[in-house]
């Protein structure tokens, strides 16, 4: 403090001093900002690096993909790893992707329809015991589905649905339903009651009033339900591993595990990363397109 007052009293050195001091404060002020950018960029590189590895590895020519030490980037771009996905390595990853798509779309459709219809019922068409039943479905959140996989296997076996994609889709639907119900009930509950009553007075039936008037307002909730269900099914591993036993019915992640276990000789890491890319890239693209619904849904699910 005293040195500063002493300096300002000295007219001779003053301009130079303030100049250098301005420079110092300028640096000091921009330093946190620069540090912030440096930290953020470093973290971003760390987060994107595995995805870069996946893409670069899958685009290498087969010989280069097995090189030790690995090349930093594909010296020769090649789609051979992707071409080999249709069974060259002994397991048909393309068929696995088809199975995954089928199961995921089926389960998503079933979840959306069932949770929309039931969500409306729970929100608007109360009946004795409806609140208790809704609470019972929410209670399933507390029990991990890994805990019921053993009896589920036996049950599906008895129903003839074990080792069937239909059975797997039914299981996925069941485990996504509570969340879908929760989301859709809240979406419907947020629609003003007067809107629906006006439609009913105009002579619409209950179902017509729901589809024409209430459903359009609940579309964001519907998209979120569909999106989260699809992602969950597409990426699910544990139940698919247990409930499907024929290799030609394996879903994408499970068929990749066959590839990675090297049961069929040595592991072809280039093809494996191509398979991983096929699993990951659609998720990333859909997420980037529908970010708002995805993030919103996750948040509302977390604070359930």
């Amino acid at each position: 403090m005293s040195t500063r007052t002493a300096r300002t009293r000295d007219p001779g050195t003053r301009p130079v001093e303030t100049d250098s001091r301005n420079l110092v404060t300028a640096i000091r002020q921009s330093l946190p900002r620069a540090a912030w950018w440096a930290v953020c960029v470093c973290l971003a590189v760390l987060f994107l690096y595995p995805l870069y590895v996946m893409l670069s590895q899958s685009l290498k020519a087969p010989g280069e993909a097995a090189a030790a030490p690995p090349t930093l980037y594909p010296h020769e771009l090649s789609l051979n790893n992707f071409r080999a996905l249709d069974g060259d390595t002994g397991i048909d990853i393309v068929a696995g992707a088809g199975n995954s798509l089928l199961v995921s779309l089926g389960a998503t459709l079933a979840t959306v329809v069932l949770s929309t219809v039931a969500g409306y019922g729970f929100a608007r068409l109360r009946f004795p015991g409806s609140d208790i039943l809704f609470f019972a479905t929410l209670a399933t959140f507390m029990i991990p589905f890994q805990a019921v996989i053993t009896p589920l296997y036996l049950l599906l076996n008895n129903l003839g649905l074990q080792n069937s994609l239909l059975g797997l889709a039914a299981v996925y639907t069941t485990f996504q339903l509570p969340f879908g119900l929760f989301l859709m009930r809240n979406s419907f509950a947020a629609v003003p009651r007067s809107l629906e009553e006006a439609a009913l007075i105009d002579g619409c039936g209950i179902l017509k009033a729901m589809v024409r008037v209430v459903l359009p307002v609940a579309v964001p909730g519907l998209i979120t339900t569909a999106l989260l269900t699809f992602f969950a099914c597409w990426n699910e591993f544990f139940a698919a591993l247990i409930l499907i036993s024929d290799q030609e019915k394996f879903t994408l992640p499970v068929s990749l595990s066959v590839l990675a276990s090297g049961n069929l000789g040595s592991v072809d890491w280039g093809v494996l990363q191509a398979g991983v890319a096929v699993t990951i890239v659609p998720c990333v693209v859909i997420y980037l397109l529908l970010q708002k619904y995805y993030v919103g849904g996750l948040l509302s699910g977390a604070v359930k």
Partner: protein, 299 residues
Amino acid sequence: MSAPHRRTLSRAGRRRLAGIAMTSPALAMITLFFFVPLVMMLWMSLHDWPLLGEHHFTGLKNYREALHDTEFRTAVIFTVKYTLITTPVLFVLGLAMALLVRHKRRGARFFQAVYFLPVVVGLASAAFLWLFMFQSDIGPAGDLADHLGLGSRTTNWFAGSTSAMLVVIGMVTWKIVGLQMLLLLTGLRSIPTDAEEAARIDGASRLQTFRYVILPLLRPTLALVLVFSVAGSLLAFDQFYVMTGGGPSNSTITAVYEIYRASFIKFQLGYGSALSALLMIVLAAVSAIQMLLLRSSDH
């Protein structure tokens, strides 16, 4: 007089009937594939139940066996260890990242989106990716460490149980921490800015403001995030099945992995059910703690 009355009654009755009709498909589904297996699990856990052949009632024998099963005990201890390491790592990193990108400045939204990106990647796919990254000789991560002088590319990360677990934790952190960041970010945003400003005007340092103003107000979110990662870690399976196969020498078998082995490798479905029941009790307790924490922080 009575005619319109009867009509309103019947309309209300119709609405009730419609409610029952519309909710019953979903309820039937959940009953058939969730509540029925749940009861079956408890019933099966009281039996010696091989996949093929006769099953017979053995009472609590499976549970007694589980308490003395050294393999199961090892799996439980490993799962707890994994949870105790993963949870603080995710928590501290998630909080640090949330604080880093919370201000509305240029680039913040972009970095948020980048850090969140791996969340949409499946756990199994992420595991296949990291399995390759950390392979000895051909793995890019080891190669990078070699270039930077941090390690050797010949290190076999999956040969030791500690190093294998560290790689798995690295993968899980990469995949999950963005979600934790997002949840904490939402929590931070809900804190009124004047609380923070008032503290700063009163002369509190940045650290003091964080410690005495932000942290207490963030408590509900902190509880939520903690329970999320505890429950998730206790149920770990995919990452270990894919990356370590439970090895080396069964040292990275988790509780769910042990259930999988009991039911679907050894085909002791009764014993697997007993282990499942124990897991369910633990997870229900974690969920109950979550609800308690969330409720008490509402007031």
